[in-house]
Amino acid sequence: MVETIETSMVNLGSVSRIPLGQGRCYVVGAEEIAVFRQRDGRLFATQNRCPHRQGPLSEGVMGAGQLICPLHSHKFDLQDGAGAEHGECLMVYGVEERKGEILLRMNSGRKAC
């Protein structure tokens, strides 16, 4: 079987390293990236620092594709990074699971605002 892994992809190791339903922060180069593992198995990746006051988003409570910042409870959509507060949104990255490993696509970063 032929697999393609692009150069920009970063292997973050086994998915089991992220507790189910939680996030975890990875430092990739100079970037802090929060990766979330939803209970249904879906993965999401965003910038780790909250645009509000730099709260560590990987420590937030998540579910149904949404995230709540642990510091002041601002809410974000994990799919497209859109924030519930005016003018606040997150950089989101492509991330997927292959053979139990987390593959993060660093060059896929995009922002809704």
């Binding site: 970063v10 430092v27 420590e59 579910g63 507060e85």
Partner: protein
């Protein structure tokens, strides 16, 4: 300048002047006559003054200085008697100091000169006076009316040392007066001529239920009772006689049987007067230079007895008189009200009984809990509604009723919210000029302004800034919704009556479902009760509830916890954590202090601080240092990070203090050892005091135990001294330390079972009422005390110190910091 004379300095008079000043500052030279000797105050809060929850000084809206600031000449204590329309002057006579301001025959100060004020325009806002039905002997000591600050003072004064009081009139004000009298420690009987209470606002069934609730609070209610005579012995009231020949012994009587517009000045000046002073849609009387508004007015045949119409009238009048909009028109008001009696939840609007064949009447009743909800729908609009026992829906219904908006197809949604969790009415979608607080006439725009530009972040703060929510309080839900919409606070439940926003059930329903289906994890609840949608804003609240419901059996999914509860420490602004070890009752040892010092050195703790909770906080600890810190401290968690029992502070008590009459330290240590870490809807902070000097501030704690002479303990509940200040209510006095522990446990368990998520005890108590609570927890009126005792014991037994997880983390990566990912690990593999 145009000369404007305003007669009457009550809610309407002062409001219209404010509105005029807003539109045309400096254009009018204003003179006001006020029969009361005060500036303007919020009359609807007199009920609070009488029941002691507010001081008279707290209800002033425009103190005397306000008049000075705005260049208004105020003749306070002067009654305007006539408008001389030939000479265009208003004539006033100073009243005698002891005169009843609103009495038709209020005595003028002998020999005082009359005051004349020339005018271009006059506004009459004389309000109304209490109506006294024909009762022999009403004039005389011991019989009172309820309308002014002076009345409150007189009633409170007279009640001192008396045993029994009767209130004639079982309407809104009568019941508020009765409740107020109860706080003056007299036995209260309410006498109503009609067959039910609150005839104007309730139907028969809800009237009967209210009667049961009122009786449960310790007031007697007699309906179908017409009072005809007050009997005195000397100058003391002793008895009331009724039309049916029966009688009642009493020491005083307050009459609150309706109101009548005050119209003498209009009659004396030749204006058209019917039931009230007749006005057109521009609020002009039969003389176009003379306007009127408020309770003294008759408009399109209607007179009003509530403040809501005043705000509308004041806007129109101000528009017309300033020329801002000469054609502005007041078209009448729809009315809704709320009973402001602590411990009774009651709101009513519009019609109470169906009138039309086509009316749809929707009723929900749950008599055991005293809940009754009724809706009259006509042409898809609310024609009337009654909410008794549970009024969360009141503000939404009121907005829809006033705006005449179409109601949802499933009428039940109006009572319980829609099952999909979509709010029926979003405060954020209301137009800017929608009136949110009907008691004080505050619009959405003013509230949003307070949130956005004045930094008001809580309902209380918004209230302090704008007066919204400070009347009957029924709009607080909408204010909270606006805060949520503009500040995005989590934890606040937009659908209000749901325990958490993502599961469309009230707490009692949710608990029943969880129990009957045996749901032991948060994901199981989402699966079974929320269509599988895992709402992040609901996870934390559900986790707390499940842990309460299934002590020791709960399937603890850690992702449902807030970060603080995942790592048993409080997250700080920079992502580090604080560690507060438990120091029972604030008493520590040299050994513990040394260990704390060693930890501070070893982990380079940036700040070591004494907290307000009598213990020590180590701030700025890195997440991966937490297990090490706990191990080295060798002390249990102080739970400074979670919604649970926090601390029990103590004073020195009998150990050293020369005044101590009870062992406050021993008591606090027992309490803290027993209840440490027990989860609850919100945090619980306790204190014990060795004597009523209360050095540990036990009266402003969620629960406080105060030792009194004779080895007894007073137990106070629902106190607060944080964002809110509230003195705790005395629940009971007990004789032994064991009884203190038992009562505290019972209260905690009842709060755990019935408190709403994030409802502190100070709100819980106001919702349930201390009298109710005393019946349930002390007198065991529901027969549940044994069950409460057993449940709290189970929770105590299931307690484990969470810092044990230092030895064995609960899950992988629990305490890990960010992980470095190496780009080297990238595999390039093209086949």
């Amino acid at each position: 300048m145009t000369r404007l004379v305003v007669v009457g300095n009550g809610m309407a008079g002062a409001r219209v002047v404010e509105e005029i000043l807003k539109r045309a500052p400096g254009r009018f030279e204003i003179t006001m006559f006020g029969a009361e000797i005060y500036g303007n105050y919020n009359r609807i809060l007199l009920s609070n003054v009488l029941n002691g929850s507010q001081a008279a000084a707290d209800i002033f809206m425009n103190p005397l200085a306000w008049y000075e600031e705005h260049g208004i000449t105020l003749h306070a204590g002067v009654r305007a008697t006539r408008i001389d329309r030939e000479r265009r002057v208003v004539i006033g006579a100073p009243l005698r100091k002891d005169a009843l301001a609103y009495a038709a025959d209020a005595a003028a100060e002998g020999g005082a000169a009359l005051i004349e004020a020339p005018y271009d325009h006059v506004i009459i806002a004389t309000g109304a006076r209490p109506f006294v039905p024909p009762i022999d002997g009403f004039d005389g000591p011991g019989a009172f009316l309820f309308r002014t600050i002076d009345d409150c003072d007189r009633i409170a004064d007279y009640a001192k040392g008396r045993r029994r009081a009767a209130v004639v009139g079982g309407g809104l004000l009568g019941l508020e007066a009765a409740r107020g009298l109860l706080t003056h420690e007299v036995e209260v009987t309410v006498l109503e001529a009609a067959p039910q209470l609150m005839m104007a606002q309730l139907d028969t069934e809800s009237g009967d239920m209210l009667r049961a609730t009122i009786s449960g609070m310790g007031m007697k209610v007699l309906t179908n009772t017409i009072t005809t005579r007050i009997i005195r012995s000397g100058d003391q009231v002793t008895r009331l006689d009724f039309a049916d020949g029966t009688s009642l012994d009493t020491d005083m009587v307050v009459v609150s049987a309706g109101i009548r517009p005050i119209t003498e000045i209009a009659t004396a000046s030749g204006l058209t007067v019917n039931k009230g002073i007749v006005c057109n849609d521009q609020m002009q009387t039969s003389d176009p230079d003379i306007f009127a508004l408020g309770e003294c007015v008759e408009h399109r045949g209607a007179t009003y007895g509530l403040v809501e119409p005043i705000w509308g009238m004041a806007n129109v009048l101000a528009d017309v008189i300033t020329g801002t909009n000469a054609n502005a028109a007041y078209l009448g008001s729809k009315l809704g009200t709320k009973l402001k009696v602590m411990g009774v939840e009651l709101a009513s609007m519009g019609e109470t009984r169906s009138a039309d064949e086509g009316d749809e009447v929707v009723v929900y009743r749950e008599p055991r809990l005293g809940i009754y909800k009724k809706l009259i729908v006509r042409n898809d609009r609310i024609a009337g509604a009654i909410l008794l026992g549970e009024t969360e829906a009141a503000s939404t219904l009121m907005q829809m009723f006033m705006a005449g908006s179409a109601v949802p197809d499933r009428r039940a949604d109006l009572f319980f919210g829609s099952p999909t969790g979509v709010a029926l009415l979003k405060a954020s979608d209301l137009p800017d000029n929608a009136q949110i607080c009907n008691c004080n006439g505050i619009s959405k725009r003013q509230i949003v302004e307070a949130i956005e530009t004045k930094g008001c972040k809580s309902v209380t703060k918004v209230g302090a800034c704008t007066k919204a929510g400070l009347g009957c309080g029924s709009c607080k839900g909408l204010v909270a919704q606006l805060l949520e919409a503009y500040l995005g606070e989590v934890g606040y439940d937009p659908t209000e009556h749901y325990y958490v926003p993502g599961v469309p059930l009230e707490k009692s329903q949710l608990v029943a479902e969880i129990r009957s289906r045996g749901l032991k994890s948060v994901s199981a609840v989402f699966q079974e009760l929320a269509g599988g949608v895992e709402d992040p804003g609901s996870k934390v609240g559900l986790a707390s509830l499940l842990k309460t419901l299934w002590p020791g059996e709960y399937d603890d999914e850690r992702d449902a916890r807030f970060i603080n509860d995942r790592v048993h420490a409080n997250i700080q602004k920079d992502g580090t954590f604080s560690v507060v070890p438990r120091i029972y009752a604030g008493v520590t040892t040299a050994d513990e202090l040394m260990r704390i010092a060693q930890v501070a050195v070893k982990y380079s703790v940036p700040m070591v601080k004494f907290t307000g909770g009598q213990r020590i906080d180590l701030l700025g600890i890195k997440k991966d240092d937490l297990p090490g810190v706990w191990k080295d401290l060798g002390m249990p968690s102080g739970h400074a990070y979670t919604k649970s029992f926090r601390t029990c502070k103590s004073c020195v008590g009998t150990d050293f203090c020369r005044y101590g009459v009870g062992d406050s330290i021993g008591m606090a240590q027992q309490i803290e050892r027993r209840f440490q870490g027990i989860e609850s809807p919100h945090k619980m902070k306790l204190a014990t005091a060795g004597c009523p000097r209360n050095c540990s501030e036990a009266l402003v704690k969620d629960i406080g135990a105060v030792a009194i002479e004779g080895g007894r303990w007073e137990i106070y509940v629902g106190g607060a001294a944080g964002g809110t200040i509230r003195k705790g209510d005395l629940l009971c006095t007990v004789a032994t330390q064991d009884e203190v522990l038992a009562t505290v446990g019972r209260f905690i368990q009842y709060y755990r079972e019935h408190g709403r998520y994030l409802e502190r005890t100070y709100h819980f108590l106001e919702r349930i009422g201390v009298d109710n609570l005393r019946k349930i927890l002390v007198e065991d009126s529901l027969g549940i005390c044994a069950q409460l005792d057993a449940s709290i014991q189970k929770a105590v037994d299931a307690y484990r110190d969470p810092w044990q997880e230092a030895q064995r983390p609960a899950y992988h990566a629990q305490f890990n910091e960010a992980e470095l990912a190496y780009t080297l690990e990238v595999a390039e593999n093209n086949g």
